[in-house]
């Protein structure tokens, strides 16, 4: 059955898009000396805005501004006062939630309903949560005299631009550090609106600096000798480069890297509910999620039935205009990413997996990829081992819980995992043995500032959120 929908587009005008954006250093918006970049709307391939980028000298200026702010104001300020500034940010993000959601959807390509219901509210929640910690760090149980580290250099990815900025900035500020943050090259806009909010919230100049640019700016930042702490979210490949570059510097490092999460469905699971969870696990945010449930492990006895239900459900996903409130799957963030997805999908076909793609219509313009499910996948195939970071699900089967566990853990990653079963003792048995930083049982992709998030093994180290997340920004 086909459901007809009238278009329900959100107005792009709400984003208050400006023709050009500048970097934010020492409390002011200034031109960077780097080559300006053009941020593209991946849904239309049209240029949204021109954004100035940082040169090496700009990075140095930003780090020095952050150092001054740390030494003179922020690092010495009583926690209770810092808290109020961070609360202001939380409130102002919430006040401008709709504008930020539309801008995020335009710049990133994600469906407006996700930007509206997940990215922006969770970003505001992160500031609100961490604000409260600023004057309570003595109670965090991390040591008798928790002190800030100094200047934090932070590099974030393009999949949740505003949310990742808030995950990075909020705990850093709460712990008394100052920040130089580099947003992703393809999605710098919401971070610069956040800078506007930070300016309006009257944070002392230099406490937060935001310097757009490509990987070279990120490298300049993390290698700057004035940086005391580096936090990176992105690919495992780049994470290794950063960890190696920081060897011997004594800089404190936390990494949130890639994943290849197993989502495990047992034969006693409520199948329809599990189908919803599997769909959310891999097609949320076009699969541009480090913790995406990209490997579906089905118990053999239900595999056929489940796959049929899954195909039926995925066929109903609406792929298209990210600003349409009915859209389930938006645009792939960039042409580069689309090419990478296409390459890996081709490898899956070549290696003998059975491809099924949703017959949904795709827009003529923009970067889109139809939701795809591979059956008969074996563990040695690239699509079972490598992070695709797109709307592509690899399906494997198992017979016993022990086999499910062995297959789930058979990866150098370890960010997340999912378990679907009605049996409580089995959930806890699996949760205990899965080597992953987050285990979602009978649910998937839940995030909250109170719940620590982060990886095992090559998915990185350090946590974001909760009491555990504070350690990343404290000298303890």
């Amino acid at each position: 059955m086909t459901w007809e929908y009238a278009p329900a587009p959100e107005s792009a005008a709400i984003a208050n898009l400006k023709p050009s954006y500048r970097m934010f250093v020492d409390g002011e918006f200034v031109e960077g000396a780097g080559e300006p970049l053009k941020s593209v709307n991946p849904a239309t391939e049209e240029v949204l805005a021109e954004v100035s980028t940082a040169s090496a000298a700009d990075v140095d200026r930003a780090v020095k501004a952050a150092r001054r702010a740390h030494d003179k104001t922020w690092g010495r300020m009583p926690g209770a006062e810092r808290a109020k500034y961070i609360y202001r940010i939380a409130r102002m993000v919430a006040e401008r939630a709709r504008e930020l959601a539309v801008l995020e959807s335009l710049d990133n390509g994600k469906p407006i309903k996700e930007a509206r219901d997940t990215d922006v509210p969770t970003a505001a929640a992160h500031f609100f949560y961490h604000a409260g910690w600023a004057d309570k760090l003595d109670y965090a149980g991390l040591g008798p005299d928790p002190r800030p580290l100094g200047v934090a250099g932070q590099v974030i990815p393009w999949n949740f631009p505003l949310l990742m900025a808030s995950w990075k900035i909020a705990p850093a500020l709460a712990c008394g550090n100052t920040v130089v943050l580099k947003p992703a090259e393809t999605t710098p806009l919401t971070a610069l609106v956040l800078a506007e909010i930070i300016q309006q919230a009257e944070l002392p100049p230099g406490v937060v600096n935001i310097i757009p640019g490509a990987g070279d700016v990120g490298a300049e930042l993390v290698n700057h000798p004035g940086v005391n702490k580096v936090a990176f979210t992105g690919s495992t490949e780049v994470g290794k480069v950063i960890q190696s570059a920081l060897a011997g510097t004594g800089k404190k490092l936390t990494l949130e890297l890639g994943g290849k999460a197993a989502n495990i469905v047992f034969d006693d699971a409520p199948l329809d509910q599990a189908v919803e969870g599997i769909v959310n696990g891999i097609f949320f945010n076009q699969g541009h999620v480090c913790c995406a449930g990209s490997r579906l492990l089905l118990q053999e006895s239900i595999a056929e039935e489940f796959l049929a239900k899954l195909h039926a459900r995925v066929s109903t996903l609406r792929v298209g205009d990210p600003l349409d409130k009915n859209t389930d799957v938006g645009a792939i963030n960039s042409r580069d990413q689309l090419t990478k997805i296409q390459d890996l999908v081709a490898s899956g076909e070549q290696e003998g997996a059975e491809r099924w793609s949703s017959p949904c219509p795709l827009p003529d313009k923009g970067f889109y990829f139809a939701p795809t499910v591979f059956a008969n996948v074996t563990q040695s195939m690239r699509i079972a081992r490598e992070e695709i970071f797109g709307p592509v699900l690899s399906v494997l089967t198992f017979r016993t819980p022990a086999e499910a566990l062995a297959k789930a853990n058979n990866t150098p990653y370890g960010l997340s995992a999912g378990v679907w079963t009605e049996k409580g003792s089995r959930i806890l048995w699996m949760a205990d043995r899965l080597r992953a930083g987050v285990v979602w049982a009978n649910t998937f992709n839940r995030f909250d500032p109170t719940a620590p998030f982060g990886g095992y093994q090559e998915s990185g180290f350090g946590r974001e959120g909760g009491r555990a997340g504070l350690e990343a920004y404290l000298d303890v």
Binding site: S244, A247, G437, A451
Partner: protein, 288 residues
């Protein structure tokens, strides 16, 4: 003074619960503080090290899966047996470290107490570092610290027993397993400690102790893909940066340790326990 000729000990490796010689057949002479010969120690090879990692990985499931109460009892048992061999350890520490007998005795006592301290931590780590997360939704969410896996340890070079125990006991306390490269020039107390471990219910493979040349073994430990964390306390200073770079190849957790050996008699804190655990967050919906 008896005329009896003493029976001297052959010092071997401790690997997978057994005491093999190095597969390479190599040994090196160990001397006391004044350069007098004490014994020959096995000079472990790359292959010994790789076998030690296999043993440590093999032991991880059972040890990490043991109850915290059980691990606490096992660690306490180590303290009991160490206490019973105080004199022997004091003699070895005095000879190896060149310290007076009284000082050596104090160091051994501190090492015993350190086992007791960490024994008590096994069933408190989750309480202190874990959490019930008050998430904004109908979910039960909790976070627990779990052992990071196999830990590669370059043991302190100077403090041959207390230093070793101070870096090894926290690994065992969290439920991780260890591949330890002992002090190169002062390895004898470590091997005698392995005799204590072997008889105190620490399962074989949980601790593996390799004597030998640190600079030869360290790069293989730092780059080994099945090692999850690395403690560079006893690393040769000139190799440290390269070892950290190697560790990045598989995103190992590299412990933040001082570049010069600390005073191991200082009161310990939980920094090492924190560094050796991974926080796992579990979510489940609530509903009827």
């Amino acid at each position: 003074m008896s005329d009896r000729v003493t029976v001297s000990k052959t010092y071997k490796l401790y690997l997978g619960g057994a005491f093999p010689r190095s597969e390479s057949g190599r040994t090196y002479p160990v001397t006391d503080g004044k350069g007098r010969f004490l014994a020959n120690a096995a000079q472990a090879s790359r292959k010994d090290l790789r076998e030690a990692v296999v043993a440590a990985r093999g032991a991880f499931g059972k040890w990490s899966g043991a109850t915290a109460y059980n691990r606490g009892q096992v660690l306490y048992r180590v303290a009991e047996l160490l206490e019973g061999r105080r004199e022997q350890f004091a003699d070895e520490v005095a000879a190896g470290e060149g310290v007076p007998a009284k000082r050596a005795q104090a160091l051994v006592d501190a090492a015993v107490d350190r086992w007791v301290w960490y024994a008590g931590w096994t069933d408190k780590i989750a309480t202190v570092l874990g959490a019930a997360n008050p998430v904004a939704g109908p979910y039960f969410s909790f976070s627990v610290p779990e052992p990071t896996g196999v830990v590669g340890v370059l043991a302190p070079q100077r403090s041959s027993l207390l230093g070793l125990v101070s870096v090894l006991a926290p690994v065992l306390a969290v439920g991780a397993t260890a591949v330890v490269v002992t002090s190169q020039d002062r390895p004898l107390p470590a091997i005698t400690l392995s005799e204590v471990l072997a008889t105190s219910d620490v399962p074989g493979g949980v601790v593996n102790l390799l004597t030998g040349h640190t600079a030869e073994l360290a790069p293989w430990l730092a780059s080994h893909a099945d090692v999850n964390a690395l403690d560079l306390t006893g690393a040769p200073p000139e190799l440290r940066v390269d070892l950290e770079k190697s560790a990045a190849g598989t995103v190992k957790r590299v412990l933040r340790v001082p570049t010069t050996e600390p005073d191991w008699t200082d009161r310990p804190d939980i920094a090492r326990l924190r560094a050796l655990v991974e926080t796992k967050t579990v979510w489940h919906p609530m509903g009827v």
